[in-house]
């Protein structure tokens, strides 16, 4: 969705970091350190090539970051109360689903789950047109990201989970496209996006920001 004007930078690079881990973590390090208790949940312990689970964890964390992005976006839109009609209804329904996705990833990743980044949606949750435009971009991007990462998952159980979410994201994409007034499904084949492509798009939004600096080492000057 390059036509959606994402034009800023990811300040603390949360998504980029997750993506880099998804791409560069050594598969061989899995048994030594990476999975721990998560291995059984992912079903990778029973896999013949069990040493490939670390990349699964990194990919699931990459997906989790995208789910954080979406769930925070819809939750904020609902809390703002500035949407109307079908868009407001869609934000409520899709937001509930995205929060469920986040919880599921948290449950399976346990202590390996990346923390939720800070977000600044720059007013897109308070404007009907901007909301729908951004929602289309998020959902399309999410579908393409799952499609890009699913073939890279080693554990069948993780692949099954990714596919079960991928189809839900595709429905969301069609719904948001319909509400925004663009064709929900015009192509015969969808293309995946690599982690680098997804990261580049999300980075350009600057929706992921650094946490505010609210704590400091400094002598107080309060009245005492």
């Amino acid at each position: 969705m390059e036509e959606l004007s994402f034009d800023r930078l990811d300040a603390d690079g949360a998504l980029r970091e997750a993506a880099e881990r998804a791409g560069v973590m050594s598969r061989g390090t899995f048994l030594a350190s990476a999975l721990g208790g998560t291995a059984a949940l992912l079903g990778v312990a029973a896999e013949p090539a069990a040493g490939q689970g670390a990349s699964d964890v990194a990919i699931l964390n990459f997906a989790l970051t995208l789910e954080y992005l979406q769930s925070s976006f819809y939750t904020e839109a609902e809390r703002m109360g500035m949407l109307r009609g079908r868009a407001a209804e869609a934000a409520e329904v899709v937001g509930a689903v995205e929060r469920a996705h986040v919880k599921a990833f948290h449950d399976v990743l346990g202590s390996k789950a990346d923390p939720r980044p800070s977000f600044d949606f720059q007013g897109t949750t308070e404007n009907q047109n901007a909301f729908l435009k951004t929602a289309v971009a998020f959902e399309d991007l999410s579908v393409e990201a799952y499609k890009g990462q699913a073939p890279r998952l080693q554990a069948k159980a993780a692949l099954a989970a990714a596919l079960s979410i991928h189809s839900v994201e595709a429905r969301h994409a069609a719904w948001m496209r319909y509400l925004f007034g663009v064709e929900p499904a015009g192509r015969a084949f969808d293309q995946p996006r690599s982690k680098q492509q997804v990261t580049r798009v999300v980075n350009s939004t600057n929706f992921i920001t650094s946490s505010p600096s609210t704590e400091r080492k400094r002598m107080p000057s309060y009245t005492g």
Partner: protein, 263 residues
């Protein structure tokens, strides 16, 4: 009568054959309960690694408060996009932390621009004003609330409406009263060298109405003390003092952006 008998037998035969065909079809189509190879070499699908819970709608949360950092300096107005100028709101606090405001509500002006009504750290205490949405950063939420009771000299922190902290405190002397009203926690100062302020200090948006020439604006803080023997009671220049063990505990419980009610 015999035709009726033959008919019954025939229907029974058809029913049996039909059941057999359906059963065979079900064997082909129904997933096998175990992972043994089935017809065509297909196995049952693996169980997904994720157990996605049922989606739950967002419930109205009366304990939720929202705050935002000031990304660019702006003038707060008395109305959304209109009215008199109330105060200039800056991006940094006097302590050098990011400035933040407590968000109350939003509205559009005549041109459709979004404005945010926010509680401001200015005198007179309790001032709220409208800031352009694009001057603020992302919204953040807290479910905590600090309530200071001046008469009882107590500080109580709630989270989600449940009390998680209570301490006896020192408050302002009659000549330097702690202001009553609704405020919020602006920042947290740590690792400084001052026994007077104790090990940790929270900055608030409340300001002394009398010590207006105090350095950095006379903001009221919540901090520790080197004179715990004076607590509780009216002992301070307006700040809320508590025992060092209490302020350290509060430091773990109270996030910046927490609304503060002083009554």
């Amino acid at each position: 009568m015999s035709r009726v008998g033959v008919g019954r037998t025939g229907r029974a035969l058809v029913t049996l054959v039909g059941a057999g065909v359906l059963g065979f079809a079900a064997m082909l189509l129904w997933p096998a309960p175990e992972s043994a190879p089935r017809l065509g070499g297909l196995r049952a699908p693996p169980a997904p690694a994720l157990d996605v819970p049922a989606p739950t709608r967002l419930e109205r949360d009366p304990d939720l408060s929202m705050w935002s950092v000031v990304n660019r300096a702006a003038t707060a107005l008395t109305g959304p996009g209109a009215g008199a100028a109330l105060a200039r709101v800056h991006t940094r606090t006097p302590e050098g932390t990011d400035n933040l405001v407590l968000v109350k509500r939003r509205a559009r002006d005549a041109r459709g621009r979004v404005w945010v009504e926010a509680r401001l750290p200015v005198l007179p205490n309790g001032t709220t004003g409208w800031l352009p949405r694009d001057a603020l950063g992302g919204y953040r939420t807290v479910r905590t609330h600090m309530i200071v009771d001046l008469r009882r000299a107590t500080a109580v922190l709630t989270r989600g409406g449940r009390r998680v902290f209570r301490a006896r405190v020192g408050v302002g002397l009659p000549q330097w009263p702690t202001p009553r009203g609704r405020f919020y926690i602006r920042n947290k100062l740590v690792r400084y060298r001052s026994s007077f302020y104790g090990p940790l200090a929270f900055g608030t948006s409340a300001r002394s109405p009398v010590l207006t020439d105090w350095p950095d604006g006379g903001f009221v803080g919540i901090h520790g003390t080197d004179r715990p023997d004076l607590l509780p009671g009216q002992v301070s220049h307006g700040c809320i003092r508590m025992r060092n063990s209490d302020i350290v505990r509060l430091g773990r419980l109270m996030p910046v952006g927490t609304p503060l009610t002083i009554r």
